[in-house]
């Protein structure tokens, strides 16, 4: 009946779930000595930095949707932990190249088991994961896409909604 009912709002369910997820990572990542956002940065470095060219701060920001105001101090802490190094690019000295150190690369092995541990804790049906993932991604896309300034007559540029089209136990 009440549109402002806290427990009926998707925003709060998302907010709660996200914080619960971050909290659940805490003890697992404590063994590595890093925080959850720091872990996300390492994921990108492990994924993209294998060619030892390093990853720019801009690229990290694109992957994680974080700006330099968040990444600069975070990378500074990762650097003081000896997980990464930062150097200005030789070709374009505006860029800063971030690389995992040997210690940072070694942490990847110890992190391999983390997603599975979290997966157990979520206790969700693994078959429903792809659908949940796609729903969340569609949600994120839609929210980022449409500021709908003030009064535009026709914003629906993204009519997609994943749930309708996909089967309940959809696989990829």
């Amino acid at each position: 009946m009440n549109a402002l009912d806290l427990d009926r709002q998707l925003c709060f369910a998302l907010y709660s779930a996200s914080r619960a997820m971050t909290a659940s990572y805490k003890d697992l990542l404590a063994e590595l000595g890093i925080t959850y956002p720091q872990y996300l940065v390492m994921l990108v470095l492990w994924e993209e930095g294998s060619n030892d060219e390093g990853v720019t701060v801009k690229r990290l920001g694109e992957r994680l949707q974080l700006d330099s105001g968040t990444l600069s101090p975070l990378l500074s802490r990762l650097e003081s932990l000896s997980f990464v190094t930062r150097h200005r690019s030789a070709e374009d000295s505006r860029r800063v190249l971030v690389r995992a150190t040997a210690e940072g690369a070694a942490a990847k092995e110890r992190a391999e088991c983390v997603p599975a541990r979290i997966g157990e804790r979520t206790n969700l049906d693994p078959a429903s994961m792809p659908e949940l993932l796609e729903t969340l991604r569609a949600l994120t896309r839609n929210l980022r896409a449409e500021p709908a300034p003030v009064e535009s007559p026709d914003p629906p540029a993204a009519p997609l909604n994943s749930h309708r089209a996909s089967a309940l136990t959809a696989r990829h």
Copy 2:
């Protein structure tokens, strides 16, 4: 193939969606002059504080899963915005009762349209909302419930997983 693939991880999808949601609220709540977490506090006050007894900080923490370290300064800001008042309880002076002011109560009217505006921006199938909500709630419950200390032989105390049991277009 890679368990550490950023884009395959539920945690990152949640983290992104939650931040996108909060960002999407920003311009709507700017008209009220408050932030998203402040809005959440006002939701609880509008919902539970109608009997003008006020709501304790503890109760706010239970509803929002936030501790006094977050709520105390947040409430202080809401107080300086004249949205709420804070008074020690007469019966138990450890408790602090938070009440919406007339201005805070008036803001409820202006906030009524906010959930609908967000709903448009999500562009999700309204019929799939109950299932998504329930999945997120189950996820939150499971993550909060099972710390699984270190090596316990039998932690599965919460075998529930909503998706299996519910139909695709489940309603409540």
